[in-house]
Symmetry: C2
Subunit: 492 residues, 2 copies
């Protein structure tokens, strides 16, 4: 595509200043409109080094109210970023509704440069492309407008600009190793960029090319494209989105009604196994840390199923500097204003660390589904979106363990009544718990569908039979230990 595209001579218009002035004004009005309509807009500036991305970005934002946009310079990952999944540093910076986010460089630069430098194999590169396509598609499906610009200059122009920068002692620092390498290997880079652009030129996030040999013209192209794109997005009402087929391998799981809950463990055995498993897990934690393997443990289950106590026994085995427990309640306004997975991306651990989620992203297909907090189309799409999310974690080499803590209805009633009648436990029981209990059957349908559709081979559900809480705790520890041991063997 990039290779096909050449300078469009008709754009060298004489009245450029006039058009630019008009366009700038119009962009400012669009900012108010996206604010009002709550549209989140992600604008990406990719392109050749010294193509003038930064300077055009600087010109564009001059027209905007700084309260409602953010600029992000993403050309270099921090040490912390490098310990997170590949897409982490981008995902956490997506704009909230009604706001612009401008990215000075995106995942394109990172992936193509790594590939060009031989740090990614062909297969790894292809996996990254798949992940990128999914990411961009998910943004669109969840109401984002994504506009991608590629700033183009030819080899000669780039060389001239880099030399000029190098000669200017105030601007010298702007010339990176990568810029120099890029200019030296211009043709090779062009091939890779061209393929990348073709592969990621999705309808949901199309590419636009910017001839940046003239800065005014570049600015005009960007602003006029933004205005057109925003106008189309604003003119559209919220649509349903096709529900894609799951393509990930699934593990066959039982229905909740098929799970026998009479499993128990003797007190003595419980104590001794708890002790030995906790010790084992403690040791494994060191191994994980040394080998930089991240662990994600997700808990879902009925109210009063014993999640809290279960998590406590697990956490007790871990070095407190190396794990975090995230209790998940209803989303904050900052969170509600973004892609529903954003708040979970934000909470991902560093590699070598463990994150335990007390309730999770599966709220989308349980409480949000049943309470109507999202549309039917939203939760139907979510199974696939969540599998894609967990695939990113898997590709990051994480251990992923998901628990469903299962009890029967009578056991729940007994525990609710006990909580009600025991003063120091009363804080644990709310009217909402009773209301949820009334919807037991509806929840059961939703949970069965969730477990069926999201038990991928790389992130399967594990059922913790928790009528006997001790039994469930031992099983949880055993499951986590086994999952970690398996991963450690794989990375040997």
């Amino acid at each position: 595509m990039l290779k096909e595209w050449v300078k469009n001579e008709n754009d060298t218009v004489e009245d450029i200043s006039e058009r630019l002035e008009k366009a700038r004004f119009e962009l400012a009005t669009r900012q108010m409109m996206i604010k009002e309509k709550k549209l989140p807009v992600l604008v990406i500036f990719d392109g050749w080094g010294a193509a003038g991305k930064g300077s055009v970005l600087g010109r564009i934002i001059k027209n905007l109210d700084p309260r409602f946009f953010k600029c992000q310079t993403l050309s270099k990952a921090t040490d912390d970023d490098l310990r997170k999944p590949f897409l982490y540093r981008y995902f956490v910076k997506i704009p909230k509704e009604g706001n612009f986010a401008f990215f000075d460089e995106s995942w394109m630069g990172e992936v193509t440069y790594s590939y060009l430098k031989g740090k990614l194999s062909d297969d790894e590169y292809r996996e990254h492309i798949k992940g990128i396509k999914r990411f961009e598609r998910q943004l669109n499906d969840n109401g984002y407008l994504v506009v991608k610009f590629f700033f183009h200059i030819d080899k000669k122009t780039q060389k001239k600009r880099l030399e000029k920068l190098k000669d200017d002692k105030n601007a010298k620092w702007r010339v990176s190793k990568r810029d120099k390498w890029e200019n030296k290997h211009y043709k090779e880079c062009l091939d890779v960029y061209d393929n990348y652009i073709e592969d990621t030129n999705q309808f949901v996030a199309p590419w636009y090319f910017v001839d940046s040999s003239d800065k005014k013209l570049a600015e005009l192209t960007v602003i006029e494209t933004l205005i057109k794109s925003i106008d189309v997005a604003l003119s559209n009402s919220k649509q349903n989105v096709q529900v894609l087929q799951n393509i990930f391998p699934l593990v066959k799981m039982p229905k909740l009604s098929e799970i026998s809950l009479d499993k128990t463990i003797e007190q003595d055995e419980y104590k001794s196994r708890l002790d030995s498993l906790q010790k084992k897990l403690g040791n494994l934690h060191n191994e994980l840390y040394k080998k930089k393997i991240p662990v994600i443990i997700a808990y879902e289950g009925w109210d009063a199923a014993g999640k809290g106590g279960n998590i406590k026994r697990l956490a007790a085995a871990l070095d407190p500097r190396g794990y975090e427990v995230h209790p998940i309640a209803s989303p904050e306004p900052e969170e509600k204003a973004r892609h529903y997975l954003w708040r979970f991306w934000k909470r991902l651990p560093k590699d070598g660390h463990i994150a335990i989620f007390d309730r999770t992203w599966y709220g989308r297909v349980m409480v949000e589904r049943l309470e109507g907090f999202c549309s039917e189309n939203d939760w139907q799409r979510a199974y696939n979106e969540i599998n894609e999310f967990e695939k990113e974690l898997y590709d990051w080499n994480a251990v992923i363990v998901k628990f469903w803590v299962q009890i029967d209805k009578d056991t729940q009633l007994a525990r609710f009544t006990d909580r009600q009648n025991t003063p120091e436990k009363q804080w644990k029981i709310t009217d909402e718990d009773w209301r949820n209990r009334e919807k037991w059957d509806e929840y059961e349908v939703a949970i069965n569908e969730m477990i069926e559709k999201t038990s991928t081979t790389f992130a399967p559900w594990h059922i913790l039979e928790s009528n006997d809480k001790h039994y469930a705790r031992i099983k949880a520890l055993e499951t986590v230990v086994a999952a970690i041991e398996k991963k450690l063997e794989e990375v040997e």
Copy 2:
């Protein structure tokens, strides 16, 4: 993607017969709904030979009213198809609004097989993928629901089925050379199919995999996916679509107001040059025929600009067995019910033949724009859609010549008045001509935009200054002769 996908064990449900019965009934109701909402639905069945595409298709249509669907077997191109652009035989068979079209094999089979057999180079293959993505995107943008299925079986199952078919003397004919080749080179094919599917898995036309080791299950998957896809499409209102950037190289063109119309030619010179140019063109026509080069000549221009007489002089030079003139009026109901370019695809010549269009697909950005026959978003998108269409013609190695026949407003008035006052010319002038004349200025804006945005290097506009009709005729002939000579040199 295909490689990631494996048999989803959860789908081997026990209640399959019951679900199937329900699904069949529901599909029948969807047929009535798409009829009512005028949704065109294109369903594509691709997959391994002997995977059971045909038999599942046979089962599915049993539930449908045969007046409102068409099945197309597209595994083999006819001799005639092979003389048309690659996408021709598919494009002409797209459904009309409110109807299903089921394609037993699509462009996927043709492209992947040619590529596997070494008949397409890597570059040619990539160009085809680009064309396919554009085609599928255009269908979506123009209101089509496109659902693509890939029927999957493993190598062993395929082999068993092929052998069983070969042993059955009534079914023997079903086993093609390609099927046998495919089974023998299963792994190689899987690689190519997997890449193809990944490359064409666009949001606007997603892939769905069908495990066809069990026919009932395969039927259920297809029907349930169709129902879900149709429901999403029906629940959505007509949306505006992002207007993509032109990526094709453009030729700089003058504005109409910059064209000097005082060019004339002497009567004697006209006659002698007409004569020699017509002879030359006649000879070139033979060359074209021998070398199988198709020619598309498109005429647009003001009313009374002299298109008719111009076309007549051109056609007079040609062998009547090798060309056709297509006068384009407003679309028939059959045409209006489909993608607006369908009626032009249908009229494409065979290779070696010449098609002359008296008015063209550019109606979209002139009369349809100005009279409101399509939405603003429709005509704004059309520049790019038309460039993509002409790119397909160019890739088919066609000579493309587009004429704008230009006169000034006074000349038009003089000719209108003459027509009005000359009994044998009165049929040529209508009230509509006078109404259009009143909109001269609006048309001029639209024409300037059209010429600017669609003068690609591979299909540029040529202005015929036609205040002096003789001058315009000679220039038309010269332009056509030059374009053909250039192409003949290229293919030498």
